[in-house]
Symmetry: C2
Subunit: 319 residues, 2 copies
């Protein structure tokens, strides 16, 4: 059983969903029409020892991430959060204090991003922690920016510095670990959508790694994304991870998941500064027509020739 086969089976039913569905499954958020207004909704699960380990993260960090991970999907639509509900299956070995620490972090994070938690469902069970958060959002006059709107010739951009998200910068037990501490790019996405207007063609948040997620943008527009390896904004965590495993930092920037930055495509005539709201904005490539049988993402070396990135393990996911 592969996740991808299950999703494709689900997506095949999209045409039957009806006219009140404005955005069917397969985008960063689904969309429903309420009196002609878009209500956006996304759900994500965090499972202990699948998505996080309580050996390496505090309950407060896990609670924060359960909210921010969904808010990154809101950012990918250039939308604003409206509110959230959460469901948790808690281990029966926990104390009330542990549960309160988790829920207090979720509530405080939700409040900080103006996304109040208005409901939930708690089960206590003989299993690991499972947290499922659903966030509602609304376009508030901008977007929503979908994944599929890229055109041939578009420029491909990313925000922030990429790679090494699971790596703790500043030592293994202290310091920043990006996949726990990241800021969802809600304000930046709004600023981009406002500045670029109709020149902002498509957007996605980077959860599976640029190689995979740029592939989603390309496939949904039936294009190929060309990424220039010497443009990749590898961050210090990518460098540090590379010193440990011997891989060049660009491979971490391209292949590592959980950046929770934005990848977006624009009209090639649109201009952007190198930085907005204090966050680097980097043009990493372009979209071009796809050749039959070609991968959705092609990585070009400094000499302009395609690099073999088969060792990153993501090419098989973007045929």
């Amino acid at each position: 059983m592969r996740e991808r086969d299950l999703l494709e089976h689900i997506y095949r039913q999209n045409p039957t969903l009806g006219e009140l569905v404005s955005i069917p499954p397969g985008d960063d958020m689904g969309g429903l029409l309420l009196d002609g207004r878009n209500v956006l909704v996304t759900v994500d699960q965090l499972a202990q020892d699948v998505h996080f380990s309580l050996d390496r993260a505090t309950l407060a960090q896990v609670g924060r991430k359960a909210i921010t991970r969904n808010l990154s999907d809101v950012a990918a639509m250039a939308a604003l959060p409206l509110g959230a509900v959460a469901a948790g299956s808690l281990p029966d070995t926990w104390s009330t204090e542990q549960a309160d620490e988790l829920f207090d972090a979720m509530r405080a994070t939700a409040q900080a991003y103006r996304c109040p938690l208005v409901g939930g469902d708690i089960s206590i069970w003989h299993g690991p922690l499972i947290l499922t958060v659903t966030i509602l959002a609304h376009p508030a006059g901008l977007g929503p920016i979908l994944r599929g709107g890229s055109k041939p010739g578009d420029h491909v951009y990313v925000t922030g510095r990429l790679g090494g998200s699971l790596h703790t910068v500043g030592g293994p037990t202290r310091g920043r670990t990006h996949h726990l501490d990241f800021e969802p790019r809600i304000d930046l996405a709004r600023a981009l959508a406002e500045r670029l207007g109709p020149g902002l063609h498509a957007m996605i948040d980077l959860s599976d790694g640029l190689g995979v997620d740029a592939g989603h943008l390309a496939r949904m527009a039936r294009l190929t994304a060309e990424i220039a390896v010497d443009r990749l904004p590898a961050g210090p965590a990518a460098e540090q991870a590379g010193r440990i495993d011997g891989l060049p930092a660009w491979k971490h920037a391209l292949g590592d998941g959980e950046d929770y930055e934005l990848c977006f495509t624009t009209d090639p005539h649109a201009a952007l500064p190198d930085e907005m709201l204090g966050v680097p904005i980097t043009r990493v490539g372009r979209m071009r027509p796809a050749s039959p049988g070609e991968a959705a993402v092609v990585v070009l070396g400094p000499d302009g020739k395609p690099l073999d990135v088969g060792d990153l393990g993501w090419e098989h996911r973007s045929p």
Copy 2:
């Protein structure tokens, strides 16, 4: 760690949620304001071997119930469904066909109730099946009917026949099992809200059993619910369950969970027929001022004197 303590800790924060929250945690659905319109949202989890067993239910039945259970919350608000998202953690031992059977049942059920599934999150893990469904709804001109609106003197009603929901009527392996096959009372709730107008004061769906759920209505209005035992509409499943365990059918009608019928309170001058849309409507009691230290629900015998229902195990939950 008790679920109730965790919930009370959460509810204490309700005043901080802000003015865009129209219904805070603690009701059948939460409410958020989008351009002045109510968007209602509820989430529920189903965990294998906690909420269902795959020895006694097919995957199609589990998928159906994951949707209908949430739709029962929509009915409790007299609202209409707008759409849904689902998250599933699937056992890594499953085949693709098993996953498809589950998701197809979820999708077909959602479509049948005009509640399209517009997003999801699938994980494959080394654990049992966990399904989390979030449903969005809107009042569509009626309600929303909250839990806390009862007044002293109100009549207390229930829909349908109660009790024995987990019991299979017609033999242990065939026939109807109410907790899997029930119809969420969306149309009936709309008809009640339309007919009663402002005379419909409060409503809840019966998931934990009438004794517990009528207690929620009473507590939220700081009243006591008096239930007359000889008015309880015990169904054939309650009778059958009683023949097995020796309890009178009314104890099953009062104590068993998962009826997914409605319990509601009305102005005592409002009149209702014995049946609406083919479903029995039964007046089972009234709301009166609470005496200090009294339970939220008092059960009166045929002689009008309180019965001891301590053996039902729910009184401790409604202090």
